[in-house]
Amino acid sequence: MNHCVPDFETDDDYFFSASANSKRHKKSAMGDEDIMELLWQNGQVVVQSQNQRSAGNKKSETMPSTAGREIRSGVIDEETTPSNLFMQEDEMVSWLHYPSDDNSLDLYLHNNDIPYPVLPSSSSAPATTLPSSLPPPPPPLVTVPPTRPPIPPLNRVDEEPSQPKFANFLHFSRSNKRGLAGSGPSSSKQMSQAITQSTVVESNIGCRGSMSSFGGAGTSSAGTGREPETCDVSASSSPGTGGSGASASVEPSSHKPPPATDDRKRKGRDTDDTECYSEDLEFEYHDPKKKSRGSASSTKRSRAAEVHNLSERRRRDRINEKMKALQELIPRCNKSDKASMLDEAIEYLKSLQMQVQMMSMGYNMVPMMFPGVQRYMPTMPAMGMGMGMGMGMGMDHIGMNRGMVPYPSVLPGPQMPNSAAAHMGQRFPVPRFQMAQVPIMGPGTGEAANPSDPMMNSFPTQNANQPRVPFLDPYQQCLGLPQTQLAQQQQQQQNQTGMAAVTSKPSSSKDVRYPQRHPTG
């Protein structure tokens, strides 16, 4: 690109003078491509077909930027749209006039390490050439902090470094609307870039103009490094970024409070931690404390200890953070010490797993339940086994929740008598907790958790007391699921009536109860 610049510069005058002539030729041109060729080869070859394109390609690339300015015709650069150019020019004009300080450009350019030495001259050219059609718009873009070195060299056009930075920003936001409306499709890219830029820059308003945003935007669209084009691009992008900058300005402010609150919260938590936890617990499962770093010399040891302490503290903080996060996830967890909180976490996790399992089973089984029930009935004992198996398996392979549900064995779940559940439980002592013994389906299964009838009778009362059963209670009572209580309330009567008949034979209970269910349903 740099090498193009000199060409551009030298050709500039040539072009300007030639453009007038080329115009005539241009009118006779076939299309845009032809136009470009004509313009360029004005001095050389006037009318050419597309064969010349290859030769003049390079020039044609640079040409449109200047051509657009001069001609404002349909000269289309392959890479930019004419509307873009025009709009950019307008925009540029507007803020070019605003500062009318070319010296700033030099400063800006140098600060941004813009490789184009010609910029000042080239930038001034457009300023003079462009008509001030637009009313002096607010300063183009605010934020161009010198901290934006990475921004491509297109940054130039720092129109108003001298202008008050805040004013720039305000104007920027105001001018946004106009810019947004006018900006072409390519400028949207610039805007998006500029938005990110402006957000950053916003905090550094004490900078020269919004050129950095321009530059960044310019590169996105132009990517060619042509100065005028860059200017144009930046000009168009500036209004766009202005608007986005305004909105962006809100973001940083919004960002600040959350981190602040987080910090405050964190600090609060830390203090709570220090107060609540009886000791600093270092859960190191596998790693022994790394205190072996201390060497013989005291200084080394102290340093090592310091480092160790720091890392320890960081680790502890991490763990405490996670504990807090876990605590927040657990409903109604008011425990302050780690051990009880972990206890609750464990129980909650188990109950959640059970719940998910039940629900997924129910979801899969209900559609199968009624029409095809008869088929499954005779296999009750097997199904009982399957269910117990499923429960045990579920605990071990939670991931398989869905997969293992569609047992026909689940079918008897809702109708499972108390004894059946107990029967099942006896067969498959599910390892960890008694919840596994609970029949799967909610309705009618809850009370089956305990083989005792009194348990069932007492259950409804408990249900009433705890509509949303805390997982702890049902867990302890081998029920496990809050929703089972609702079902139990519904099914309570049916089950109770069926219980007596059922207790004797699990296999027959199903037959007995199944007809009972329908009337009640």
């Binding site: 000791e279 763990i319 996830l329 010490d337 996790l349 959640l352 719940q355 339940m369 309705p443």
Partner: protein, 88 residues
């Protein structure tokens, strides 16, 4: 570790915590499948949080599906009661 004299609560031993964490670890589907003594406390806690969140998500998802199922079923049928019982 600065000594904390703010409370007289029984000291919770590290072993206790470690035990609880290992229990928790057993419940986690991912960590459990690997060698169980490999996870650090922070990892276990992190995994637990993620797992709980995913379970919540699953519960919500299932609830939605059950609700949809409920809508397809006659309101007075036993299926409806079952489904309703499953939905929290």
């Amino acid at each position: 570790m600065s000594s904390r004299r703010s409370r007289e609560a029984p000291r919770i031993t590290d072993d206790q915590i470690i035990q609880l964490l290992s229990k928790l670890q057993q419940l986690l589907p991912e960590i459990r499948n690997r060698r169980s003594n490999k996870a650090s406390a922070s990892k276990v806690l992190q995994e637990t949080c993620n797992y709980v969140r995913s379970l919540h998500q699953e519960v919500d998802d299932l609830s939605d599906r059950l609700s949809q199922l409920l809508s397809t079923v006659d309101a007075n049928s036993p299926e409806a009661s079952i489904i309703q019982s499953l939905i929290m």
